[in-house]
Symmetry: C2
Subunit: 139 residues, 2 copies
């Protein structure tokens, strides 16, 4: 298997609200291939898809039951501490739930967390040890 | 916010076993920046990180309690149906749990699911409508 990933699929309660969240709070645009049943957002080399959680479970042939911490996080790395503060201030002004305020963390970075409408956790962080190119790809 | 993502962090029960899973079953190599506390694997432009689930919850300042379906999936897209069959046969020979056998699906693709040791679901699929470049980036 090549060392790569194609899609992160989030199972959501309400596709319309979740899609609006990523469009209005993050300012991201969905792909024209999105439909009333599924939303696709092009990220750097991968797609983020939003799909009703019961249908996602059905597709994978697993039980849809699940509660609490989902045991995964998604990270959006900023290019500076100031950029983390600015991003969080912007999200706060749009009533996004701030789960952890920006702060220095033990590994030498500066990190915060927000939640989307389905309590998917996005870390908004600056990591001085992580190199990214102009498109945001980790190098 | 740019339309990009930096890291997918999976909260795992046992870092050693989960790291071995990705090394031995997927054949992926961890980055030298990995430590006894965290594993990093470079994918196309993003990192996959493995981190103990209780520490991930602690980092995000959320409760570590959570059971059942995690309501997210990761997809590894193959370049043909045959490649899906071959990948699943290879994973099966390494005793990976096959959650859904490869099959034609309603949207016109060919799809299967496997589970990692923490029941993170990987869809192994062929999507004739999705374009990828040589590095596996969605274009």
């Amino acid at each position: 298997m090549d060392q790569r990933l194609t899609i992160i699929g989030l199972g959501v309660k309400d596709l319309v609200s979740s899609t609006k969240f990523y469009e209005e709070k993050f300012g991201w645009a969905k792909l024209p291939s999105s439909t009333e049943s599924i939303t696709f957002i092009q990220l750097n080399g991968i797609l983020l898809s939003l799909y009703p959680e019961d249908k996602l479970a059905e597709d994978a042939e697993v039980s849809p039951e699940g509660i609490g911490f989902k045991k995964f996080t998604l990270a959006y790395n900023c290019r500076s501490k100031e950029d983390v503060d600015k991003t969080i201030a912007n999200l706060r002004s749009k009533d996004v739930k701030i789960v952890k305020e920006p702060q220095e963390v033990f590994w030498g970075g500066y990190s915060s967390y927000i939640a989307d409408p389905d309590d998917n956790l996005w870390e908004i962080a600056f990591n001085p040890f992580l190199e990214m190119d102009d498109t945001g790809n980790v190098t």
